[in-house]
């Protein structure tokens, strides 16, 4: 797909503004990234910097009897060593990051992670002690000398077992391992069930996985007593909440704490404002020792110490009429939160809400129980529980289509909400605490486009029949999904023009590869009549911008993007007002283009840089009340999230003997409202689909019954490689959101969401074995081989 990558100035006689939003200029950040000039946390080197290594639990569950640091402390190069008792009053469980939403009769029990285990360990990899040394090598060698005595306890490794009365209890202050019990209802499902032509019931298992970013986590903390400033470089998606939290924990004013989230090699959720032990301890250590300290996570640590997303066990049923119209859905599921639940109910509420998809579901009963287990902590990973819900709904619709003899595209079309039905209230509460109300969408159009692109109509008699004739098994999958994106509460941005004419844009959100330096620049450039590359973007440095929440929930473009837009509009107004007085022309007769303000029709102009200089006089007087400069700060807070949507379609070939698959075509039709930068949106979709393919067919965190992770390396935890990810054909449906001035919706997680459901349907279609159903994700060649063998034996 080609895009207009050059910006052409309009001729003077045609003062239509150049279109920045909607174009695909080269990414501003790529020069820095590709030439090695981009700063990552591990690039921070400071005089006298020390290095930390953590001693972690090998046991999933056990009583911590003793920690002996004496040998470690005597190791050459070691400066300090701490266990939980050395932390004194600083030892506190972390904050509950997301309290439960206001849902009636909700039951919620919380237990948040601790900086270092004290008395008890609750998952493998839980930190027990930290060693600080002159080099990372000395720190790790000394860490190996720490004598830890743990008396093993039976571990909780499965969800049903964890809820049994006899199960070992993970948190002594709670009555059981039940972390939450939540019921959300719409209409009256039981009545709908009575009226149904068919009720179809299935049990599904959907597991997710590790976020596997290219860059693991890392922290550098430096307390400078003379300037009274604590600087923390942190691979966080949310530097401002981390600054606020650290200031409170350390007893410092927020003004003395600066958190910098520099370039980050992928976030995908687990780098959210977790207040990870390492994030909380390094600043404390730096203040105590008066020296900078660095910790860089290694890949193996990442499998335990960084949060991950895992499985849900669903019992679901759908009630349909004779035409395949959905009368209601009932879903009950168990969901794993790991050893602690700092992120509250977000994932499960996402599952609950996203299950409804683009469909009209008049009656819904959804109930879940969240269970503590002795596994690493679960928090959102790209998709954040939405995959699970989409899988359940799409699978139920596939089964309904089979049983009723209705085409699978047709049964979806019959149930789509139509454009006239927006806003559509689903009458349940979403993860942002607001009612689940879809703002806009055009689902049938997206399906039509996908059907056309993949040639759905001709597939069976064409590609599939031809393959069958050659003894090959080729199948097509086509599924729908929605994604609630762009949730509040707010973000901010400051836009200013320098005397040299450069535009500065600063926003509080961090960036982990989303292209913020370009898409935010485009939004500002659009209003100020400059090129995207004229806008210098700064993100993720609390000293540069101190208000905001962070990058998560596909909200950057929606919330921060609209703040950039609002700030740019204010600066534009200041430019017009000043230029009007300087040029002696009415504001309506002025046009901004090429970095100039022109008087339409006269040829007179003044540059933005000159205006900026005039807005900051060094001598003389200004009108009282005048603010200097051409600068503005603005905020945007949506009343609720916006609903993006899409259809994925795929043709794949399955070898029934080896159970290996080959993706022949992959089509994505996506609606993220108004597209700011098509290339970046497509990049987000490509990355998401790659994650989705991994989740569907390669990646799985395998634990034994003792809650020991069995595949904590990329030798055994398989990520899809370039050869496993096909060329992805994309098309955009644009239904602008009415909930924000730019009309945009989020896209960061979209690509990953429907892929499991898509694989299941396409593989079933390819194999065409009676009674062969896929109810579990992830698959793998092994798993698929077993399913094929079982189906053949039964058949």
């Amino acid at each position: 797909m080609s895009h207009d990558t050059t910006f052409t100035a309009p001729p003077a006689e045609a003062p239509a503004r150049p279109r920045q939003v909607g174009a695909s200029p080269r990414r501003n950040e790529d020069r820095r990234l590709l030439t090695g000039e981009a700063l990552f946390v591990d690039d921070v080197h400071l005089d006298g910097m020390l290095h930390a290594a953590f001693v972690r639990s090998d046991y999933a569950h056990g009583m911590l009897k003793s920690v002996d640091l004496s040998a470690a402390r005597e190791h050459p190069g070691v400066i300090a060593a701490y266990d939980a008792h050395d932390l004194g009053d600083y030892w506190e469980p972390g904050p509950l990051l997301v309290p439960p939403p206001p849902i009636e009769q909700l039951e919620f029990h919380t237990a948040t992670q601790v900086p270092l285990a004290r008395d008890k360990v609750r998952h493998v990899g839980e930190p027990i002690a930290v060693i600080v040394a002159r080099s990372p090598y000395e720190a790790e060698d000394a860490a190996a000398l720490v004598e830890v005595d743990i008396e093993p306890l039976e571990a909780v490794s499965d969800l049903e077992g964890g809820l049994e009365p006899a199960a070992p209890r993970i948190h002594e202050h709670l009555e059981s391992n039940l972390a939450a019990h939540v019921i959300q209802r719409k209409g009256a499902y039981e009545e709908a069930r009575e009226r149904a032509h068919r009720v179809i019931k299935r049990r599904f298992w959907y597991d997710h996985g590790a976020s596997a970013p290219m860059e693991n986590r890392g922290v550098v903390a430096n307390w400078d007593a003379r300037s009274r400033e604590l600087t923390v470089w942190d691979t966080t998606q949310a530097p401002i909440p981390i600054r606020n939290g650290l200031a409170a924990m350390l007893g410092l004013p927020q003004s003395e704490v600066r958190v910098i989230a520099p370039f980050i090699g992928g976030g995908f959720g687990p780098k959210i404002m977790m207040f990870y032990p390492e994030e909380v301890l390094l600043p404390w250590i730096s203040m105590r020792l008066g020296r900078p300290v660095k910790w860089i996570e290694d890949r193996q640590e990442s499998f335990f110490a960084t949060t991950q997303e895992r499985g849900q066990d669903h019992e679901a049923e759908i009630a349909v009429d004779e035409e395949g119209r959905i009368l209601g859905v009932r879903d009950e599921f168990l969901t794993d939160t790991g050893a602690y639940n700092p992120y509250g109910l977000t994932i499960s509420i996402n599952t609950q809400c996203t299950l409804l998809g683009p469909y009209r579901v008049p009656n819904y009963h959804s109930e879940f129980r969240m269970v503590f287990t002795n596994k690493p902590i679960v928090t959102p990973v790209r998709g954040a529980g939405r995959q699970h819900g989409v899988f359940v709904m799409e699978r139920l619709l596939d089964r309904a289509a089979d049983e009723l003899g209705i085409d699978r595209v047709e049964i979806r079309r019959r149930n789509y909400l139509t454009p006239e039905e927006f806003p559509h209230d689903h009458e349940i509460i979403y993860q942002d605490f607001a009612p689940l109300v879809y703002d806009s969408g055009n689902y049938a159009e997206a399906m039509d486009r996908a059907v056309e692109m993949i040639d759905y109509a001709g597939f069976e008699s064409g590609v599939q029949a031809a393959a069958r004739a050659e003894g090959r098994h080729v199948g097509l999958g086509i599924v729908s999904y929605v994604e609630g994106t762009g949730v509040g509460p707010y973000e901010g941005a400051r836009v200013g023009i320098e005397p040299g004419g450069r535009i500065n844009l600063v926003t509080g959100v961090g960036t982990q590869g989303q292209g913020h330096f370009t898409s935010f620049a485009q939004i500002v450039a659009e209003q100020l009549g400059v090129g995207a590359d004229d806008v210098e973007v700064v993100t993720g440095d609390t000293a540069r911008f101190g208000w905001g929440t962070g990058t998560f929930a596909s909200r950057g473009a929606v919330v921060a993007g609209n703040a950039c837009h609002a700030a740019a509009l204010e600066v534009r107004q200041k430019v017009l007002a000043l230029a009007s007085s300087v040029l002696g022309a009415a504001e309506e007769d002025l046009d901004l283009a090429d970095g100039l303000v022109r008087v339409v029709g006269s040829g007179e102009s003044i540059s933005l840089g000159e205006l900026a200089a005039r807005a900051n006089p060094l001598r003389g007087a200004v009108t009282p009340g005048t603010e200097p400069g051409l600068e503005a700060t603005a905020y945007f807070g949506p009343e609720r999230g916006v609903t993006a949507s899409g259809v994925h379609a795929m043709i794949l070939e399955v070898d029934p003997e080896t159970a290996m698959i080959r993706i022949l075509r992959y089509v994505v039709v996506h609606d993220c409202g108004r597209v700011i930068n098509p290339m970046i949106v497509e990049g987000q979709i490509h990355g998401g689909v790659a994650h989705g393919i991994g989740n569907a067919f390669y990646e799985e965190l395998v634990f034994d019954e003792g809650a020991q992770l069995q595949n904590a390396s990329f030798m055994d935890y398989l990520l899809p490689t370039a050869t496993d990810v096909p060329t992805i054909e994309t098309a955009h449906v644009e239904t602008p959101s009415p909930l924000n001035p730019l009309g945009v919706k989020g896209v960061g997680e979209a690509g990953a969401i429907p892929v499991g459901a898509l694989f299941a349907q396409a593989i079933e279609d390819a194999l065409d074995i009676d009674g062969f159903e896929i109810r579990d994700i992830p698959l793998s060649p092994n798993r698929l081989f077993e399913l094929i063998r079982d189906a053949r034996e039964e058949g």
Partner: protein, 205 residues
Amino acid sequence: MLIESDFTFDLPPEVVYAGLLDPDILASALPGTDRLELTGEDRYEGEMEASVGPVTAARFSVVVELKEKVRPESFDMHVDGKGKAGFVNGIAKVAFEEADGGTLMKYRADLQVGGRVASVGQRLLESVGKMMSKQGLEAVRRSLMERQAPEGAGAAVAAGAGAATPGGADLTASSQARPPATRKARLGLFLVVAILITLVMLMLR
């Protein structure tokens, strides 16, 4: 992790049982043990180092307790090994029965493996574990056969005589009467355990 398999010797159970208690026979099959102490009744503490191919030397300490000894039929080994790279604990049950004039030795080790051993070595742990235990036992069989050849029937008779008395009581009594020999025997038992542990630890990096 479950390591369950069996192994056949062309010698009667009494000979095999006695042989297995002889550290001289087992030592060659077991590299890496550099300290081993009897620290209590049927309790041994030791230090091992395992290193094979790309796997760098990993040290671990191990405590073994022998229980349920029925000579020459069976014994249980309670294993608790810990090291920088993880832990192994559990019970290995070893049983001997006569089969066609020889001995069918069955072993079943139900081990909890944790830490880096489990998380990185898992893929090869079981298959290599089985392979290594077979190789170790092959070495034992060769040693037994070599010993049988020159000494002939005499050794078998001696072993058979030992087996005629009830197992547990006999061992306790004989350990008082002949402490050095029993000590050696116990050392041999430890080495059997150590083989199993080594198999697991071999996967370390």
